[in-house]
């Protein structure tokens, strides 16, 4: 299977060709937003960290920023910094340039003399990048260049019974075709981690999966918090999920059945092909953020309760098996899988349908969240701001 994508110098392929306007910190976010709004072909993110952080938080923020810049769906980057943040624009620019050969330009609001002067220069830079990007032709890329992130959010009982197994079927099909998939949300392995770990290709990977869950609980306990107090969420409970174990056992079904060949730390780029898992929060927006930073070029997202979420860089294809949710939120959800519950659609047929849908997205079809220009992100935090 092949798709029409944008080949990058590092050998990966994008399914979009965005110019990314990237703030270094919260203080650059509004300026970045204004710059992106002026340029067709540009996208921005609103960043809530980058300053007044301990080292571990700064490392996470930097992994997200550099990962976004390196994502294969990005043609080039215009960085908007302030000047007094933890990692200023010139340092971030050099770091990104050491990781990718794509064009990266940067400005600092303090040194340019304020927002308007920065906007003037940054808009010109972004305009030139967008013009270059528009000339890049799509080429046929092998499906092995697809790294599909797998996410669920706003889960209810239909997620674990129907939409997650359908996405698991899709994941198996993609892996058999040579593509890779990435499932995250490690806190939502808890209670099902022993089942997930059975898929590990080696004993080391098996134990890594168990240890991630143990460490997550220990981490929260160190701050006097209990994961079972926040999971399941009130919405999950209303939707029929009673314990974190029940939620997790449904959650992990979206990863399919193929052997897990790599277990990644948060926002790290995979080094292997196949079924991969990553340690992230269960908070869907944060998990998607980390999967985009890891280099996913498409995301599939199951929901039971319904969610509008989208990402600026990577298209998010949303599916539900809850007929009422689909009828209420058809403007936000791309695929209706409620036929699985009513007995009109087998899990196997649903997997085939999703393969066609995700292939269309790879070939350029806009998802609903993408058409609306949604750009949710959330950067995970180790501890409080300082």
């Amino acid at each position: 299977m092949q798709f029409w994508g944008y080949k990058r110098a590092d050998g990966r392929a994008g399914i979009r060709n965005h110019v990314l306007i990237l703030p270094t910190c919260a203080c650059g976010s509004e300026t970045a937003r204004i710059v992106a709004s002026q340029i067709r072909g540009a996208v921005n993110i609103v960043f809530n960290t980058g300053c007044s952080d301990v080292q571990a938080n700064t490392e996470m923020s930097q992994k997200i920023l550099t990962g976004f810049a390196c994502n294969p769906n990005v043609y080039g980057v215009v960085i908007i910094g302030l000047g007094c943040e933890t990692v200023p624009h010139n340092k971030l620019r050099e770091k990104i340039k050491s990781m990718t050969s794509k064009p990266v330009i940067s400005f600092g609001i303090q040194e340019e003399g304020g927002t308007l002067k920065t906007i003037e220069k940054a808009v010109r830079a972004a305009r030139d990048l967008a013009a270059e990007a528009s000339l890049q032709q799509k080429e046929l890329c092998d499906i092995s260049e697809l790294l599909m992130g797998i996410e669920c959010g706003g889960s209810d009982a239909t997620s674990g019974i129907a939409s997650n197994p359908a996405v698991g079927e899709l994941s198996d099909k993609l892996i058999d075709l040579g593509a890779s998939t990435l499932m995250s949300e490690s806190i939502e392995w808890i209670g099902g981690e022993h089942v997930l770990a059975k898929r590990a290709a080696t004993p080391e990977l098996h134990n890594k999966i168990i240890k991630i869950c143990a460490d997550y609980e220990k981490h929260l306990l160190a701050a006097g918090q209990d994961c079972r107090a926040g999971q399941p969420t009130p919405g999950n409970k209303f939707g029929g999920l009673s314990t974190i174990d029940e939620k997790s056992l449904g959650c992990i079904r979206k990863g399919g059945t193929r052997p897990i060949v790599e277990v990644l730390e948060q926002a790290a780029r995979p080094t292997k092909h196949g079924a991969i898992v990553m340690d992230t929060a269960g908070y869907d927006i944060s998990s998607v953020t980390s999967m985009v930073a890891a280099g996913c070029n498409a995301i599939i997202f199951t929901t039971g309760r319904g969610t509008p979420t989208g990402n600026a860089i990577v298209p998010v294809l949303k599916v539900t098996a809850n007929a009422q949710t689909y009828s209420w939120m058809a403007d936000n959800i791309d695929v209706d899988l409620s036929g699985i519950i009513s007995g009109d659609l087998t899990i196997g047929d649903a997997g085939e349908l999703l393969l066609k849908k995700i292939h269309d997205v790879c070939n350029g079809r806009l998802t609903k969240a993408e058409a609306y220009g949604f750009s949710d992100i959330a950067v995970d935090h180790v501890c409080r701001f300082v």
């Binding site: 209670g191 981690e193 314990t243 174990d245 056992l249």
Partner: protein, 94 residues
């Protein structure tokens, strides 16, 4: 047409695919039927047999929690009457 789904033969709960009223007969996809003893919202779980306080609750053939009170057959199983049991991660290592 069935209005609850049994996911595994080991399970002692089924997931309702339609809201049920006390006294309703629920037909279970995966086998059998049960009379509901209380109102159960759509997508929530019905107990398929009497469950005593301390009993494990099975769904997907796996433990999803433990009963905090006795639950009658045909009763509503939810976060109000079951809870998550802490994991023993050490014993899972190979």
């Amino acid at each position: 047409m069935a209005n609850a789904i049994l996911l595994d033969a080991k399970d002692n709960v089924a997931t309702c695919t339609a809201a049920a009223k006390a006294g309703d007969k629920i037909k279970i996809l995966g086998g059998g039927e049960i009379i509901c003893v209380e109102d159960i919202p759509i997508w929530h779980k019905v107990a398929l047999q009497p469950i005593s306080k301390g009993d494990k609750i099975f769904k997907y053939g796996e433990i999803i929690g433990e009963a905090s009170i006795d639950i009658a057959a045909g009763g509503w199983v939810s976060h109000e009457n079951i809870f998550s049991v802490p994991r023993d991660y050490e014993s899972e290592m190979i």
